[in-house]
Each structure stands twice: as C-alpha cells, then as structure tokens.
Amino acid sequence: MTLMKIARLVFFLLIALAVSSPAAPLRESAAISTPAALDLNAFLPAAADLREWAPKDPPQEFKGDDLFLYIDGGAELYREYGFRQVIAQDYRNGKGKIISLEIFEMASAEAAYGMFSFKSSGRGKPAAVGQDGRLEDYFLNFWKGPCLVTLTGYDAGPECVRGILEIARAVDARIRLQGSRPSLLYVLPKEWMKASRLVYLRGVLGLNNIHPFFPNDVFRFKEGLAAEQDKFKIFIFRYAGPAEARQRFQEIKKAFSQSPAYKDLKNLNESNFETVDAKGDKLYIQNYNSHISIILTLTQTDRQSVSDMFDQLNFMAGGSEPIRRAADARTMR
C-alpha cells in the first residue's frame, strides 16, 4: 500500500469518526407516541414579530392521543411517524384574512423530516425556511429539529403567500433547534436527493398512500424511502440486519409470486428477481445487506440501467454512509 493510499484511508476514517455513526434501524418503540418535550408556545410569533399579521384567539394545543381531537381522521399517519404534540394558532391581518399556523413536535428530527417529506408533494418550490421548506400554492411546510411547521393560507395570491412566508420566517427564528436527516436518505445516490418526490417512510400507511403494492403489510419495514424521477421509482426498505432482510426478501418474493396483481416473476439470482405489475410496469427487487430495494421502471428501460442503479444503491448501502454524510454536510443546509 502506498503512502498516498494510507493517507487517503486515514482521511476517510477520520471523517467517518467525525460525523455521527449511521443510525441503527429504528426500534419499534420509535414510532409510537412519546411525551411532549418542548414548549411550543415559545415558537409562536407574537404580533410584535410581524408587520401585517397578529395572533387571533388563543392557540389550541393537543398532546399524545388527543391528536384525535384535533385531526379527527388522518391522525394515524402522524402516529406512524411518531407524534408528541401540536399547537395551532391563527393569524389575522387588517383585512380580516386568516393564515393558520400548526407546529407539530414529532418524536425525533427524522420523524419531523418524514412528515415534511410526506406532506410536500414536490409540486411547489423550495422555501428558505427551516432545514428544508416547500411552498405549494396556498400552503408551506418546513421542518427544523423535531418540529414540523405547516402554514395554510386562504388562497395562492401574492398577499397571502407574503404573509405565509413572513410568519414562517418568524417561527423559524424562534426554533433554535437542529436535527439530522434520516441516515437512510444517504443510501440514495446524491442526484436523487432532488427527485421529483422523495418521501421518508415509517410504515405501511405512508407507503400505501404512495404506492400500494399489496393490500396487506408484506414489507413489514420500520424505515423506508420512496423516490421518483423520470425513469424510475425507487423504494428502499431497511431492516434490523442482513438476516432479517434475507428473511423478508423470501416473504416478499412469495407475496409477489402469489398475488394476481403481478405476473411473469423471474428469479435472476438468490437476491434478485423481477416481475410485472398490472399496468405492465416492470419491477426489479433486490436484497443487499440490511436493505431491500425495488426499482420500478416507468419507461422502457434497459436492464443495464437498472443494474447500474442497483450498483449505486449497493455502494451507498455498503457502509459508506458516514463518508457520504460528511460530504453532504457541506452542501446541504
């Protein structure tokens, strides 16, 4: 080994030690409600923080299971990601228009990122608030630390959007917390970070809202990703270890082979198979380490492109996450 190679190895090892180690797969308890930890009132902008908007009426607060009282239907998704509490405050301007602010404290920064990614369709445009923000027509979502912030206006006009951004920036300034994105994101090639839609998943309810592969919970994952670009949809599920992933892979293959919604299943090797769905789209499924990846081809795609994509996923899933995180930390807020 040359001195240069040794130096490079030491450099990468130092980087790997300098950043947090890759997160272990989620424990089951991570996705259930945990006690509220933050004073969300402190994050609500006061009238003095804003030019044209002022709080209207006292805020509403709901903790733990009482989320059901606030979101009567649809609360399950927040629970799937891990919910602690929410505070909701309306703001009114001089014309009597209303903008609604909701601040959700989730169980972790990863959970907040997950709900943010789920609620953002990818249709809007990035907004420079929080750790990631997205403005879509009449509403804006951003996440920061364990907080997911949603602002909803009355229309998509410039006055409303200006108000939404003004309140969002004021909230952003009050939340002095930061958190890490889910380490699973770093399994994706970097260019996929700008996928037209990228959703971090914590369970089957979220998955079924994006792509209902099966009517029952076949994948049984605790952490997953769904991403879409022009040619592919990619789904990545992470398990507790290679043994569990191998076992799930066999169960998943059996489910695909037995479902009338899929046909032409072909085993490519012991950790790869392909099949075709009812729309005629081809699915390639692979087990690598602790992960199971699915590439769904949206266009006529040659197998080499799919193979290249799997290679990239495998490289990123092969233990290089700390290095990747260090590199990305320089380019991502």
């Binding site: 259930i32 009426d57 509403q60 299971d65 059901f68 009282l69 979101i71 009567d72 239907g73 649809g74 609360a75 399950e76 998704l77 629970r79 799937e80 309306d90 209303i98 609604s100 609620k119 369709s121 249709r123 879509e136 027509d137 009449y138 509403f139 949603t150 909803t152 009355y154 229309d155 369970g203 089957v204 309810l205 079924n208 809202n209 099966f214 009517p215 029952n216 919970d217």
Partner: protein, 316 residues
C-alpha cells in the same frame, strides 16, 4: 335548461347504454325514532351538476332528484350534516351549498332546520358555516362528547361494530340530509357520504372501536375502520345525500392542506354507495378501489356499479 349529457365522465363509452336500474329503496331506519326513509320513487338515482355557482348547482341537483318536497315534508324537523372537520381549503362543505340546502328546506315548509356536531364552535366559525346557519335562521347544536349524550343502538348483522352510539338529539329529527365534501383520506384514500356518518356517532366509540388500539396503521386496522363505517351505515340511513365536489383536496386528506383540485361538481342522490362511487370517480378512483364502498355494496346498501345507476349529468 339542464342538459342530459350522459355518463361519459364516469362510465366508459362501452358501457351498456340503457341498462339503468332504479333500485328499490332500502333506507328504512332499523330502529325506533330518527329520520324517516327517503321517498320510494326518484326520477334518477344520482345527479351530477357542474358549474360555477355552487348554490344554483345544489338546487339543480335536488330538482333533478325530484325536488326538495319529495324529501322534506311540510312541518318536518330537518337535520343537516355538512363536513366541518377542518377549515383548510378543500376540506369542508362550502357555505354556499349549506345555504342553498337551508333555503330549500325553508321553502318546503320545514319547521326546524339544525346542524348537530361534537366538534367545537371554532370549526364552525372557521369554515364560515356558523355564519350561514345564523343568517338563515337555522340552529347549530354543539353536542358534548360525553357518552350520556349518545344513545346505544345495536347494529344487526354487524361485521365489527356491534353497537353504535348515536347522538340522542338525532332522534328528534324527521329528515336527515347528509352533506359531506368528498376528498382524499390518508387511510381510506377517499371520504364521502359513508364516512361522514361518523360525525353522528360518539367520539369515544369512533376512537375506541373504529380505531385499533395504539392507532395501528396496518391494512388490517384500516379495513377494520372501514368495516365499522359500513356497520354504522346499517343503522343510520340518510334521507338524501348532497356532496360537495367543487374544490377538494386530493392529497394530505382529510385535514389538508393538500393539492387542491376543482372538479366544480355537486353530486347528490339517496343511494350512498352510488353517490360515493360517483365521487370516487371525481378523484380518479373506482368504487371498487375503496374498501368501505365495496363493503357497503356487499351489505346491499346501494349500487357500486355506475353502469347500473340512473346518473344524470347537468351543466349550468
């Protein structure tokens, strides 16, 4: 003049034309008291009215179904149930639609027109529905969530919900007009007439029986929720359903905010399953895609196949 333009938005052109069936009404209440059944004969089963004037569209839909007089007898007490779950755009029944229905009920000679809700005053204020109720001289009754305000009603032939707990106040009304907005739902992928009835059932039952312990989100838990919704529909039978499909969310439902689409339709009918199937079509789905619609059809609550429904589209 209304223009009958067929069912091309809902049914493929290859559908069997003229196969429409007027279904016999099976909407007799299965328990003592409460609103009565719908009239036995309608001109059509489902009216789908498109336009820009939501109040006029609502009135036209009811007219196409035979007129308000067929559903609201003189001196009757009428219960209306709009969806008031959230004030985000595309998530609640539009005030113009509620106002139109109240005006029609008044014109039919209703003695009392009311909305019942276990949701709080802020929900009604924020959506603008409280103002309409006040301006039109109707009544808003906010029912506390305590079980003492709900009457236990056995559900014969239930698959999951053996006993519903329905607002005591519900039984004081002669006519029940169900007025949801159709929209996306994170669990069911759809919400419409069937699911709206949870607004009459005790929150403690909705929470403790409809939802599995610890808010499970697996498909078994979702199916259980939808089975309970269908069971509830076995004992609450709306006289008429009028659905807001004007501006609705198709993502992040049921609370939003989400992607807002504008089908600009009001969809009405007595047959909940047929109406929900038509609403599902507006969201790009089929009735068969939605568990609760499928199960309601299996329980003979209505017709899922729009080819077998007398559906009239009207543009105004």
């Amino acid at each position: 003049m209304p223009k009958k333009i067929g069912r091309r938005e809902f049914i493929s052109k290859s559908a069997t034309a003229g196969a429409a069936v007027v279904f016999g009404r099976r909407f007799l209440s299965g328990f003592g008291g409460g609103p009565t059944a719908a009239p036995a004969k309608d001109l059509i089963d489902v009216a789908v009215v498109s336009g820009a004037d939501y109040a006029a569209m609502t009135a036209k839909a009811v007219e196409a179904l035979g007129g308000i007089g067929k559903y609201v007898p003189k001196n009757s007490k009428v219960l209306l149930m709009p969806n008031v779950q959230s004030k985000n755009p595309g998530t609640f029944t539009k005030p113009e639609i509620l106002r139109s229905v109240i005006k029609m009920c008044k014109s039919a000679g209703a003695k009392e027109i009311a909305c019942l809700s276990y949701l709080g005053q802020p929900n009604w204020d924020g959506t603008g529905l409280a103002q309409v109720i006040q301006e039109e001289g109707a009544i808003l009754k906010l029912i506390p969530r305590d079980d003492v305000n709900y009457k236990a009603v056995p559900v014969p032939d239930a698959a999951a919900l053996k006993e519903a707990k329905i607002m005591n106040e519900f039984f004081n009304y002669d006519v029940f007009i169900n007025m949801p907005i159709t929209k996306d739902h994170a669990g069911s992928k759809f919400t419409g007439t069937l699911k709206n009835l949870m607004g009459l059932n005790s929150p403690s039952v909705n929470r403790g029986v409809f939802h599995k312990p610890n808010w499970q989100t697996d498909p078994v838990a979702i199916e259980h929720l939808e089975t309970c919704i269908v069971d509830l529909n076995l004992v609450i039978k709306p006289t008429l359903n009028i659905v807001d499909a004007t501006e609705i969310i198709r993502t992040n439902g049921p609370m939003g905010p989400g992607e807002l689409i504008k089908p600009l339709k009001v969809i009405a009918g007595v047959d909940r399953v047929a109406v929900d199937s038509a609403c599902a079509a507006v969201l790009g789905l089929k009735g068969e895609d939605i568990i609760m619609i499928r199960k309601a059809y299996a329980k003979k609550l209505g017709e899922i196949d729009l080819k077998k429904v007398k559906l009239q589209e009207i543009k105004i």
